[in-house]
Assembly symmetry: C2
DNA sequence: ATAAATACTTGAATATTATACGAATAATGA
DNA sequence: TCATTATTCGTATAATATTCAAGTATTTAT
């Protein structure tokens, strides 16, 4: 037993996938070389990566939370720095700087609520958040444009 | 000119991609047949699909909004039905039933604020939302686990 | 503790698929 | 209109995935 699956999951979260040119060519009834050409162009312009979407319950990341954050005054004017730092973690699905009452909106995945609590305690300390609101997902119907 | 790119974008949002077995095999230094075997297992258990992640500014979906929704009383108890209906649209990135003040949290992408306004007006009418709060993304640092 | 069943690993052979190339056609711009 | 650039697409080739079969490890039941 080599325990390859965790490594695959980690790689597939960010990339290591590629388009199925032959299948697309069949689907839209065009020559595969034409599809190939168009995909390469699109990759230059607009495609960041190809990746897997998981049934997160099955990989121990079934607990999903949206976190609204107020930064402390000294960081209020330049939220990007903190946002970039937060974005680096593998459990963070998205980070946005948003309009309204809060500065940041973070979507993250954890194993369970205990795991989440450990993370948020650590994050409040580390990033010196002024205030946070956690919206816990009770049911996920769609994620990353994929219905689950 | 066959205008193939829009079709590709639509297909790539949900699938039509596949893992790069040879590349992964090289990366984690295992035989490609072993990688193949493990991926097939993982697909049965936990992988929903393989898809592309876009630079959404480049495909006319740069405007991103998180929408908090209160449903009308008659729908408050069974939000799933509406949530599933909302999830079907291609511009919807995620739909969650959440804890707290609001019942639904929807993440969606539009071309610009006018496009968004048209959508939200229509949605309020169609789904009979009681109240909504829109959090507009000013800057997206990470989406779908991919830094952008 | 042992045997049987099941799951995982792997190399060799084969089938599929992506990519490179070149020629033809179409679109763009001056 | 003519020249330049972008796109289409068939053929040939290179790369890759998949099948198969055999061996090894792990788990399960008794």
């Amino acid at each position: 037993m080599k325990d390859i699956k965790p490594k695959l999951i980690s790689l597939f979260k960010k990339g290591y996938c590629t388009p199925q040119i032959a299948r697309i060519a069949k689907k839209i009834k065009e020559p595969s070389t034409t599809i190939h050409y168009n995909i390469k162009k699109l990759e230059e312009e607009a495609i960041k990566t190809y990746k897997a979407v998981f049934d997160y319950n099955q990989i121990g990341e079934g607990h999903c939370t949206f976190l609204l954050v107020n930064l402390k005054e000294e960081k209020y004017g330049q939220p990007e720095e903190i946002a970039e730092e937060i974005a680096k973690s593998e459990r963070i699905e998205s980070v946005d700087i948003v309009t309204g009452e809060y500065e940041l909106l973070i979507k993250l995945r954890s194993e369970d609520i205990d795991d989440y609590y450990a993370w948020i305690k650590e994050a409040i300390k580390k990033y010196n958040f002024a205030k946070t609101i956690s919206l816990t997902s009770l049911k996920q119907l769609k994620t990353e444009f994929v219905e689950i």
